[in-house]
Symmetry: C2
Subunit: 115 residues, 2 copies
DNA sequence: AAGATAGGTGACCATATGGTCACATGTCAA
DNA sequence: TTGACATGTGACCATATGGTCACCTATCTT
């Protein structure tokens, strides 16, 4: 349907990052890796089930990887997807920042048309 | 409620980037600035109203700025919010040991390449 | 003035999303 | 082996989101 959606992985990563709770969970794991679900649950005002769903989304996006040991499941941060999205999507917007901004200011200030 | 949501602007930017159509619109504006709604509409398989809603979201997030001239409205890309999100959020995840991690990932995924 | 063009608004609908609960499985510790 | 602990599943609900439509205003052209 949407032919311009070429990278489903990108979409999963962007959608995973769209929720503030999930970004906060990533922040927690960034501060310290290898936390269990229970530990993460205690850091958020939300039931265990909500946290589970969020962790599932993060895991599907590849942003979090897990390791099971006994009855516990440890969660680790995986920055690779963010890095990849950054490299092939965000970089191009930030690299020409200065030039684009200067052009934009010129556009807004003068009534010069671009055509 | 969510005390860890300190930056509403971040949230708006992330949510704006979460939709593939909106990312495509940004790509269009990245390729060439100053397009009208009608021009953007013709590039997407969607009615004008859907495009309007998406542009509104992008504008609220600060990712797109507009200039009205007569009956036309021109849309310009503003990379500053992406730059800010990148600087204060993505950088910390990517700068750490990403290179080593990516190498490790490649080693794990294709150990036949190694020895 | 009349018609075409560009854009805007509010209602509306289907689906996606965030979150909870009852219940269930597997694991550790005494 | 009993009970507490850690995690998992499916149903369920309220709201957010993506998208369309009828209708509307403003501007340009002839």
């Amino acid at each position: 349907m949407v032919t311009y959606l070429r990278r489903m992985d990108d979409d999963r990563v962007f959608k995973a990052l769209a929720d503030p709770t999930r970004r906060f969970l990533l922040d927690l794991l960034f501060a310290r890796d290898g936390r269990t679900l229970s530990e993460l649950e205690s850091a958020v005002e939300m039931t265990r089930y909500g946290v589970m769903k969020h962790l599932r989304v993060l895991e599907d996006a590849g942003l979090v990887v897990t390791r099971r040991s006994g009855r516990e499941k440890f969660h680790f941060l995986n920055p690779v997807p963010i890095r990849e999205v950054h490299d092939r999507w965000i970089d191009k917007y930030t690299e020409r920042q200065v030039t684009a901004l200067m052009n934009l200011k010129k556009e807004l200030e003068s009534d010069h048309d671009q055509h």
